[in-house]
């Protein structure tokens, strides 16, 4: 038995002894299988480390070079022409096969795509959103509508929906007199209602004034006779004949839908279409919120 082997055995014994000392001094419960496995592992590590170290240190001491030296020589340092070890060779072959797969199908077909991840995320979110809010109650819709309004509508219509002193449409009432007179004068064909275009100059002078005053006043009291010109399309009650033409009295869902989808250019300015920005559920929420502003 060589001196090295004896030193190694002594070192391993010392490690094992230290382990046992620690176990004893800390009162570790060896009936617990986890503790037992841990101690066996510690002993195994000591034995394996020492025996592997002894094996290779011995080999370094006794081994002599085998194999054929390559012709070239760098400042006295030579190189053997050894065969590549089997494990290395197979790993290399494996990487070549993997590279083929990666080039032909891995990268082009299965590559990670940021847009793909985005699409999946949006799809999953929308499905969840639709499921949760399919039958949302009025309070939820009101709250949702308010937050949509603050992001998408408030920059023009103001946080309270009052149109920022005439810079945009005022949601606290249906229409102002000036707006109504402008539509009567110029007609309108922007909202895409089934009834189609409203021709300009349906009423003039005092008639137009009377109509504007009546509608701006909330359509209360005596209906002016000249309102007959409006009633043929907007209905006698001004409610738009069930979605055939714009409702003059209130913000119904049809009116909000047509305005959001088509945008509008009126006497105050231009409103862009929000077709791509607002989903059907959001539109429903916005309708509830805008209706609450008018009251």
């Amino acid at each position: 038995m060589s001196a090295l082997m004896i030193k190694g055995l002594l070192f391993a014994a010392a490690l094992i002894g230290a382990t046992i000392y620690v176990v004893e001094s800390m009162n570790i419960d060896l009936s617990d299988p986890i503790n037992m496995i841990t101690i066996i592992g510690a002993v195994a590590i000591a034995v394996i480390t020492v025996s592997v170290a002894v094996k290779y240190i011995n080999q370094m001491k006794t081994d002599t070079a085998s194999g054929e030296l390559a012709d070239e020589n760098w400042d006295g340092i030579g190189e053997y022409k050894n065969e590549l070890p089997g494990g290395w060779a197979y790993s290399f072959l494996g990487t070549m096969i993997w590279a083929m797969w990666y080039m032909i199908s891995g990268y082009p077909v299965n590559a990670f795509s940021q847009i793909g991840q985005y699409n999946e995320e949006v799809k999953a979110y929308n499905a969840k959103f639709e499921a949760v809010h399919k039958n949302a109650d009025a309070a939820t819709l009101q709250q949702m509508g308010e937050s949509i309004f603050l992001v998408q509508c408030a920059p023009c219509h103001g946080a309270t929906g009052d149109g920022l002193s005439g810079k945009a449409h005022d949601f606290t009432s249906r229409m102002s007199k000036a707006q109504i007179l402008d539509v009567i004068k110029n007609g309108s064909n922007q909202l895409g209602y089934p009834m189609g275009a409203m021709p300009p100059m349906m009423a003039q002078g005092a008639d137009a004034e009377a109509i504007a005053t009546y509608i701006a006043g909330g359509m209360k009291g005596e209906q002016p006779a000249s309102f007959a010109a409006c009633a043929s399309c907007h209905g006698a009650d001004g409610k738009g004949m069930a979605g055939m033409s714009p409702n003059l009295a209130a913000y119904d869902a049809t009116l909000i839908d047509h305005t959001l989808q088509n945008g509008k250019k009126g006497s105050l300015g231009k409103m862009p279409s929000f077709k791509t920005m607002i989903t059907p559920v959001q539109e429903k929420a916005l309708t509830v919120y805008i209706q609450s502003l008018a009251n």
Partner: protein, 221 residues
């Protein structure tokens, strides 16, 4: 087998370079070539829009506003469709920006209009209470430099083959022939504005900077 290579450090280095570069080339080049093409339907900036782009750069909108919508749901909900590289094909230079003190502007033309910009550039807090954006009243009096914008269009046409058409030539006659189109564009914008001075200036042939800037912002879709 490759011992000859070890004796030739130069060829060895070339070999290593080719092996490493190859992987990069097959992954980067095809994507790059595809993404840098203009998206279908993209038109080069009109001269008025280019003049507005110069105002955008001059007044340094870039330092507070980005022009790049990332593919995250929170961003596309607020700003619209995420940006594609092909949309910037005629941006020289692109104005992506790197800081959002204000909102992203890459699709501002979809949800803001001429009259809104007019109110906002005059006094931002009139339309956005609490906004920290400064007012840009000087844009209502400064005159946009459409001659330089035209020269820029001709330059990018000649240097980068931007499809501007044959009428864009580096001659005075060509500019005189094109100028009415620029004024007509400006008049369309001014018609939607309420400021009387702006309307008068445009009618007299002087385009205020704000008109050019609005033309540029409306174009961002």
């Amino acid at each position: 087998m490759f011992h000859w290579l070890e004796k030739n450090p130069f060829f060895f280095a070339v070999g290593v370079f080719i092996v490493i570069a190859f992987a990069g080339l097959i992954e980067i080049l095809p994507n790059f070539a595809e993404a840098s093409r203009p998206v279908v339907g993209l038109k080069p900036y009109t001269v008025l829009e280019l003049a507005g782009k110069e105002v955008y750069k001059k007044d340094n909108c870039l330092s507070c506003h980005s022009q790049l919508i990332r593919p995250f749901k929170a961003e596309t909900d607020r700003y619209g469709q995420y940006s594609l590289s092909g949309e910037y094909a005629y941006d020289r230079p692109f104005l992506w920006g790197s800081k959002r003190t204000g909102p992203d502007l890459h699709r501002v033309g979809n949800y803001r209009t001429t009259d809104w910009h007019e109110n906002h550039m005059w006094e931002p807090t009139d339309v956005v209470p609490g906004s920290i954006m400064p007012a840009y009243k000087h844009q209502f009096t400064n005159v946009a430099d459409i001659e330089t914008a035209y020269a820029e269009a001709v330059t990018v046409k000649n240097v980068f083959a931007t499809p501007y058409g044959d009428e864009f030539q580096a001659t005075k006659a060509a500019w005189e022939a094109h100028k009415p189109k620029v004024l007509a564009d400006a008049q369309k914008i001014a018609a939607d504005m309420k400021n009387k001075d702006i309307k008068e200036a445009v009618a007299a042939g002087n385009i205020p900077e704000v008109v050019a800037l609005i033309a540029y912002l409306n174009r961002l879709k």
